[in-house]
């Protein structure tokens, strides 16, 4: 819920760097890119005057005008298509889905038009498709999805999902400058999470797409994860550390194309792997990670590759149900403990 103070603050130009939450960092990134490059514009539902459902684009319209902050009708296929068309003309659209769940009506346009355009006739589409994903805020089956697996089997789409304020800014800038379509997922729990408030640099930095980061170094087992689950992984690592298990946490940051060498290096170091994601387990991106490891680092494995993820159901609304549905820190600790003891 936005407060009066926040509303007024939002209308101002964001700081350049400084202590920032995830959402502030993200907004800084978009703002700076729009300043830097007049072909960058935003498009989506309620992104203009209202500043977006989560206020990611708040204030941009005051600075850049309606011409570069396009409020659309409720029509995600049109948002994707219009972004692609504008990109063909040389513009650089940053399109918002109000919730990532609403990427579904745009699925066809993304998978068939956006993803295949360069391959078919050389027309690259520098487009960014972003929006809030993820569960854990009791938003029910239609405002909680993690959509990466919908798109992971379609060549031509890059997928990123930051877990820190620093990466949120660096990755949105990289996405906007990327010559190809990038899906940029923002876990909605992270936007204003005080824990993620951090000092980010003043200068113009990008975080390269396709590069994972070691969120915590460890020796005994690797947790491969991304997005909001990085926090669960770190908390679980802390707890396991107290039990004498040294855990390495890999934050993928980019889901496609995946940083295989970062994954393999970690596995070679620890020889035990736990994959953690928030989407349902079956058909989730964990399969791709496990398969990569089972194929390319088999010799280094000392234990089965374990996946911890949501159960195979829609995301239920009621807190006790949602809690059961989602992977919890205790599930990660439990799995880590067993893996360590294996």
């Amino acid at each position: 819920m936005s407060t009066e103070t926040k509303k007024e603050k939002m209308a101002e130009r964001p700081a350049r760097g400084g202590r920032a939450t995830f959402v502030e960092a993200l907004r800084q990134g978009i703002w700076e890119e729009m300043e830097r490059d007049p072909s960058v514009f935003i498009i989506g539902e309620d992104v203009g005057l209202y500043g977006g459902a989560f206020k990611v684009t708040d204030g941009l319209i005051d600075e850049f005008g309606e011409g570069r902050c396009v409020d659309t009708p409720i029509s995600e296929a049109a948002i994707v298509g219009a972004a692609c068309g504008a990109a063909l003309m040389g513009m650089r659209p940053v399109a918002e889905f109000q919730f990532i769940d609403f990427i579904s009506p745009g699925f066809d346009m993304l998978v068939n038009y956006a993803a295949k355009c360069r391959y078919r006739w050389g027309a690259g589409l520098p487009t960014v498709f972003r929006g809030p994903c993820g569960a854990g805020v009791h938003a029910g089956p239609f405002h909680s999805v993690n959509a990466e697996s919908f798109f992971a089997n379609t060549a031509g789409l890059k997928i990123v999902e930051p877990s820190t304020a620093y990466d949120a800014k660096g990755l949105i800038k990289a996405a906007i400058r990327d010559p190809d379509p990038v899906l940029y997922f923002e876990h909605k729990k992270l936007y204003r999470l005080p824990r993620l408030r951090e000092e980010i640099p003043e200068d113009d930095y990008v975080v390269e797409i396709g590069k994972a980061r070691v969120a915590r170094e460890g020796r005994d087992l690797s947790i491969i994860t991304f997005g909001a689950q990085v926090l669960n992984a770190l908390d679980a690592a802390e707890e396991l550390d107290r039990e004498g298990v040294s855990v390495e946490v890999i934050d993928l940051r980019t889901i496609a194309p995946m940083d295989k060498s970062a994954i393999i290096s970690s596995v070679k170091k620890t020889s035990k792997v736990l994959i953690l994601h928030e989407a349902s387990r079956t058909g989730g991106i964990g399969g791709e990670i496990a398969a990569t490891i089972a194929e390319e680092a088999f010799e280094w494995l000392d234990a089965p590759v374990v996946r911890v993820a949501a159960i195979d159901t829609p995301v239920p609304y009621s807190p006790p149900l949602e809690e059961y549905h989602l992977p919890q820190i205790k599930d990660v600790v439990n799995a880590g403990r067993k893996l360590a003891a294996y």
Binding site: T72, P105, H143, I311, D312, Y317
Partner: protein
Amino acid sequence: MATKTETKRKNAGKNKAARDGDGNGNRRGANNGNLIAEKSVEAAITTSIDDAVDEKPQATAAAAAQAIEEVATASVNADGEMICQLETSLTRDQMLELYRYLKLTRLVEERLVNLYRQTKVVGGVFRSLGQEATAVGTAYALQQGDFIAPLIRDLGAVLVKGIRARDIFAQYMAKAWGPSGGRDLNIHFGDMTKGFIGPISHLGDMIPVMTGIALGARMQGKNLVAVAYIGDGGMSTGAFHEGLNFAAVQRLPLIIIAEHNWYAYSTPTSKQTAVKNLADKAAGYGIPGHIVDGNDVVACYETMKRVVEFARGGGGAAIIEAKTYRRKGHAEHDDQRYLPAGELEEWERKDPLDRFERHLISQKAATREEMDKIVADVEREIDEDVAWAESSPMPEPKQAAYNVFDNTIVPPALRPPVLGGE
């Protein structure tokens, strides 16, 4: 830095400009990039459907209000205040029942807001304040066997269809006794025996589903009517188009209630569509379109009744546009910064409940005492229902794993043990 009030005014002005454009009433897109001078269309060679290029300037003040004045059969009482449509087949008892549903709707929502402030409602609260007459009046014209797919802002229709307030409370509070057992929120559930199919969040998606209800029913020899509620925003979706078009081709009895409440979240209707009336969209489907004053419960009922007869009699699909206004923000958290100054106050004066009360009094259909008694009854019912809902436990965590599929065929999706153990 601007004070709060100043900011709101500033925003409001900006938004107003966007909505009213350069004097073209609600026929305005955004003037992005190069503003190109407007030009009237030259007559097309043959057929020219250029109604849209309507150049006559309109006063910018209260364009919304004007549009309705145009269509309403605006009756007034002795004090010159607006009441409801006079011609009606409604009996006195039915009028009182309508009154009861209107009050029930409003008071249930007010109670939900209270519960929300007490953090007892888990998700958001979406109000239909100011729109209750549309939902209640249209649903009241249906038979038991007819089906509705309401929007979040059609609680009134859900109640008219016989869903109890306690189900709504339990559902909002994510309780085990709620109709979805805590799995889904607000009115996202259904009851086939009552002809109620709850929506999903994805706007437009219920239109094809309701087309299917009508199609299936026809195959079964059932002569029912399927009603789908949709907003000015939701009509922009592809699913709306595909679903309604298919129903129109098949001449299925699908009635679309197009709720023109001027906003889709923060987006004014002028940024959703270039038509003047949502009912204009009917022409694109080869079906009749109707406009009704959505704040007049009698008019909503009577129009709906006629269209239901048309649809049930084999006439096929139709659109009814109800002109109304969303007086609260999109949900409780929305600060409505995008509203032009004065707009809200104007619509407060048009409140559908106040209007119907005046109507009942002026038509001598009810006394103040009778109405008070109804309200007291409703309040008692709500107290009981809230108490019931509050007494419900939260669902058992493990219930989350059940019934993705028919569990006699596929076992529940319980959390798998790690490494064989657990």
